[in-house]
C-alpha cells in the first residue's frame, strides 16, 4: 500500500491539476473566477500564486466564448482545463462543447484532436432551484466523442482528474458542490492515476447489485447498510466513468446477484440509467430474477424547497424501496 494523505475533495482536484501543470507546460486552467478569486468554490485555491496569470486565467462570463477558445487552443496542442462554475452554465456553451470538441477528430479524419478537460459542479442538492441544478450527464452521455467522469471520492477525483488531463480526447469531469468538502484518504504520488472505464466494487453482496456513480454512490452505501439489517445483501458498484462504461463489471455482478437497481441522479428518460438497464437486459436476460429497477431524479424541474428537493433526488429511502421491490421473491 502506498502512503495516503487526508484531503478534501476540492483539494484533491486542485492537487491533480497542479501536479499536471508542473509536469506539462501545455496544461493551463481557464474559467470564471479561477484565478484571483481562487475559484468560486475554492477548487483552484492557491494556483494563481504558483502558476501566475498566464496559466491560471480568469475570463469574463462568456462560457460559449471561452469554451470555444479553449477548444481552438486544444486543436493546436495545448491541454486546457476549463472550469464551468456549474455545469448548468455549460448549456450556453452547448455548441462548442457538443458540436466542436467531440467531433473535431472525426470530421477532420483524425487530423485535429481535442485534448481538453471541462469540469465543474453538477447535480442538485444545494437548494439552488431549477436552473442551477442540472445533472448534465443525462444530456451529454448521449454524445459520442466525449468521455464522462463522475467521481465519488477524493482519491478517485484526483486519480481520474490526472487521467483526464493526460487523455487525448475531450473529457467532461463532473464534480458535486455537495461533496467538495468531503474528506478522504488520497494516495500520495504524482503518478497514481485511476484508469477510465474501470468500475469499482465498493461493497460486496449476494442478493442485489446497486450500480451508481458520483454522489448517489454514497446513498447506495447507506441503503446497503440499512438493507443488511433486513437480511438483504447488496453489492455496490461505483462506475466512476460512464463513457467509457464498464458494463462488464455490472454484468458479472448481476450474474451473481440476479438483481439490479441503478441509481442515477439525472432524469430517467433517455439517461445513462436507461442505457445501463437496456444493456443489462440484453446481456443478462436469463440471469435476472426481476426487471432492472431504476432510481432517478423525479421527472420534474428541480424544486427549491428543502423537503421537495430531498424528495426529488434519489435518496436512501427510495433506493431501499427499489431493492425490496426487485428482490421481493428471491
Amino acid at each position: 500500500m502506498s502512503a495516503t494523505q487526508e484531503l478534501e475533495f476540492r483539494d484533491a482536484i486542485r492537487d491533480a491539476m497542479s501536479e499536471e501543470m508542473r509536469r506539462d507546460k501545455r496544461v493551463m486552467l481557464i474559467g470564471e473566477e479561477v484565478a484571483e478569486y481562487n475559484g468560486a468554490y475554492k477548487v483552484s485555491r492557491g494556483m494563481l500564486d504558483e502558476f501566475g496569470p498566464r496559466r491560471v486565467i480568469d475570463t469574463p462570463i462568456s462560457e460559449s466564448g471561452f469554451a470555444g477558445m479553449a477548444i481552438g487552443a486544444a486543436m493546436l496542442g495545448l491541454r486546457p482545463v476549463v472550469e464551468f462554475m456549474s455545469w448548468s452554465f455549460s448549456l450556453v456553451a452547448a455548441d462548442p462543447i457538443l458540436n466542436n470538441a467531440p467531433k473535431m477528430l472525426f470530421m477532420s479524419g483524425g487530423q485535429f484532436g481535442c485534448p481538453i478537460v471541462f469540469r465543474g459542479n453538477d447535480g442538485a442538492g444545494g437548494q439552488l432551484g431549477s436552473t442551477h441544478s442540472w445533472s448534465v450527464e443525462g444530456l451529454f452521455s448521449n454524445v459520442p466523442g466525449i468521455k464522462i467522469v463522475i467521481p465519488s471520492t477524493p482519491a478517485d477525483a484526483k486519480g481520474l482528474m490526472k487521467t483526464a488531463i493526460r487523455d487525448d480526447d475531450p473529457v467532461f469531469f463532473l464534480e458535486s458542490e455537495r461533496m467538495l468538502g468531503m474528506k478522504g484518504d488520497v494516495p500520495v504520488g504524482e503518478d497514481v492515476l485511476v484508469k477510465f472505464g474501470q468500475a469499482l466494487i465498493r461493497r460486496e453482496g449476494a442478493d442485489c447489485t446497486l450500480a451508481s456513480w458520483g454522489r448517489p454512490v454514497h446513498f447506495c452505501m447507506e441503503a446497503a447498510q440499512e438493507l443488511a439489517k433486513e437480511g438483504i445483501s447488496c453489492e455496490v458498484i461505483d462506475l466512476r466513468t460512464i463513457r467509457p462504461l464498464d458494463i462488464g463489471c455490472i454484468e458479472r455482478s448481476v450474474r451473481k446477484t440476479s438483481n439490479l437497481v441503478i441509481v442515477d441522479q439525472s432524469w430517467s428518460f433517455g439517461s445513462p440509467g436507461s442505457e445501463v438497464a437496456a444493456q443489462i437486459h440484453q446481456r443478462c436476460f436469463d440471469d435476472l430474477d426481476n426487471h432492472v429497477h431504476r432510481v432517478h431524479a423525479e421527472d420534474v424541474p428541480a424544486p427549491y424547497a428543502y423537503n421537495l428537493e430531498q424528495e426529488y433526488l434519489p435518496n436512501t429511502r427510495k433506493i431501499c424501496e427499489a431493492v425490496r421491490s426487485a428482490t421481493y421473491n428471491s
Partner: protein, 388 residues
C-alpha cells in the same frame, strides 16, 4: 448601367457603408511570378467551384454545397499576406480557402464526393475542410462557431511562444466569417475575449452582403459601418475592397503585420459579393438580376486579369495556356474523386476517440505532438510549424 462600386455610393451597393481606403496604387507591384501564381489560384478556385456545381447536379456531391464564386480574391489575397505557419480557420464556404492554402484540388474534390482520399477521408464533407499540413483548422458549419476557435488558436500560438518557449509571439491566426456571423453571440464573446487577452487573431468578415436571403441591412445594426462592432471591443478595424486582389493583399499585409508586431486582434470588413446562390438550392429571389449584373462587371478575376495584362506580366497566350492547365487539373481532380473508393464501413468507428476502446478503433493519424505520457518536447516536425 452605373459602374459597380463597393464604396457605398451606388443604389446597387449591397453593403452601403463608409468608403474604402485604397492602398494598392501607392504600393510596389508584387513580382511577376507572384502575380501569375495568384492568377492561377483565382482561376483554379473558379473552375473548381464550377465543376462542384456540375458534380452536385450529377448527384456526386451530397448535402449542402456552398460555392465561392465571386469571392476568390479574398481567399487568395488573404492567404498571400500570411506565413505558412499562421493558423487559418473558416466557415463552411471554405473550398476557396482550402485551395488557396495549398490543399490539392483532388483531395478537396474527393472530400466533396465523400471518398476515402478526401482531406478528411470523406468524413468531413463540403463544409469541413481540414488540412493539418497547411495549417487549415477547418471549415465549420455552425454560423459563428469558428470565431472562438480562431481566438483559441491565437491563444495557443502566443502561449507556446511566450509561456512555453519564453520568446515573443510570432504567429497570427486568420479567422474568416460571413457577415451573418456578426449576429451570433459566439462572435461577440470571441471579440471581447480577443480584445481583453490581446490575442493575435484577425477576424476577416467576408461581407458579401447577404446571409442566405437576408441582406445585411435586414439582419445587422450599423451595417453601413461594421467597424463600430470591433471598436466596441477595442479592436481596430479596416475596410477592404474584396473584389480587388491587390487591394486585399496590400490591405491585409498591413493588418497582418500590425497584428504580428503588436500581438493584438484586428477586424476587417472585406466587401465582396457572391455571384451564385447561398447554396445549390437557392433561386436568389431576394435580389435583382440587375444588381448581380453590376457586381459581375467588377469580377475579381476579370479585374486582376486586366491588371496583369496591362502590366505586361502575362500575355493572352499565357493566360489561355494557364486556363487550359487549370481546367485539366480540375477535371483530373473530378476523375480522381470519382475513382477514389468510398470509405470502408469500419471507418465509422475510427477517429472517434484517439485511443481504441470497446467498439472504437482509435485513430491512425499521428498526435498533434508529444504523446500524452511522453514528456512534451514542443519540437516542430517542420521548421516554422509551431505546435503541429
Amino acid at each position: 448601367m452605373p459602374t459597380p462600386t463597393t464604396d457605398g455610393n451606388s443604389a446597387h451597393d449591397v453593403h452601403g457603408g463608409l468608403p474604402i481606403t485604397r492602398r494598392a496604387a501607392n504600393r510596389p507591384v508584387p513580382s511577376a511570378d507572384l502575380l501569375r501564381a495568384w492568377y492561377r489560384d483565382l482561376i483554379l478556385i473558379r473552375e473548381f467551384e464550377i465543376r462542384c456545381m456540375q458534380a452536385y447536379q450529377d448527384k456526386k456531391i451530397g448535402g449542402f454545397c456552398h460555392v465561392y464564386i465571386g469571392q476568390e480574391a479574398v481567399a487568395v489575397g488573404c492567404v498571400a499576406a500570411l506565413k505558412p505557419q499562421d493558423p487559418l480557420v473558416t466557415a463552411y464556404r471554405n473550398h476557396g480557402h482550402a485551395l488557396a492554402r495549398g490543399m490539392k484540388a483532388r483531395a478537396c474534390m474527393a472530400e466533396m464526393f465523400g471518398r476515402v482520399d478526401g482531406c478528411a477521408k470523406g468524413k468531413g464533407g463540403s463544409m469541413h475542410m481540414f488540412d493539418r499540413e497547411h495549417n487549415l483548422f477547418g471549415g465549420h458549419g455552425i454560423v459563428g462557431a469558428q470565431t472562438p476557435l480562431g481566438a483559441g488558436l491565437a491563444f495557443a500560438t502566443k502561449y507556446e511562444d511566450e509561456v512555453i518557449n519564453n520568446g515573443k509571439s510570432s504567429r497570427v491566426t486568420l479567422c474568416f466569417l460571413g457577415d451573418g456571423a456578426l449576429n451570433q453571440g459566439a462572435f461577440h464573446e470571441a471579440l471581447n475575449l480577443a480584445g481583453l487577452m490581446n490575442l493575435p487573431v484577425i477576424f476577416v468578415v467576408e461581407n458579401n452582403g447577404y446571409s442566405m436571403g437576408t441582406s445585411i441591412h435586414r439582419g445587422t445594426t450599423q451595417s453601413h459601418d461594421l467597424s463600430s462592432k470591433a471598436l466596441g471591443y477595442g479592436i481596430d478595424a479596416t475596410v477592404i475592397d474584396g473584389m480587388n486582389l491587390l487591394e486585399v493583399y496590400h490591405g491585409m499585409k498591413d493588418v497582418v503585420e500590425k497584428c504580428r508586431r503588436e500581438s493584438r486582434p484586428a477586424f476587417v470588413d472585406m466587401r465582396c459579393y457572391r455571384y451564385k446562390g447561398h447554396s445549390m438550392s437557392d433561386p436568389r429571389k431576394y435580389r435583382s438580376r440587375d444588381e448581380e449584373a453590376i457586381w459581375e462587371q467588377g469580377d475579381p478575376i476579370g479585374t486582376f486579369e486586366k491588371f496583369i495584362l496591362d502590366q505586361g506580366t502575362i500575355t493572352q497566350d499565357q493566360i489561355k495556356s494557364l486556363q487550359k492547365e487549370v481546367k485539366l487539373e480540375v477535371r483530373e481532380a473530378v476523375e480522381f474523386a470519382d475513382n477514389s473508393p468510398v470509405p470502408p464501413l469500419s471507418d465509422l468507428y475510427h477517429d472517434v476517440y484517439r485511443e481504441p476502446w470497446g467498439k472504437y478503433s482509435g485513430t491512425s493519424e499521428p498526435r498533434m505532438y508529444g504523446g500524452a505520457l511522453n514528456p512534451p518536447t514542443f519540437r516542430a516536425t517542420r521548421e516554422g510549424d509551431g505546435l503541429i
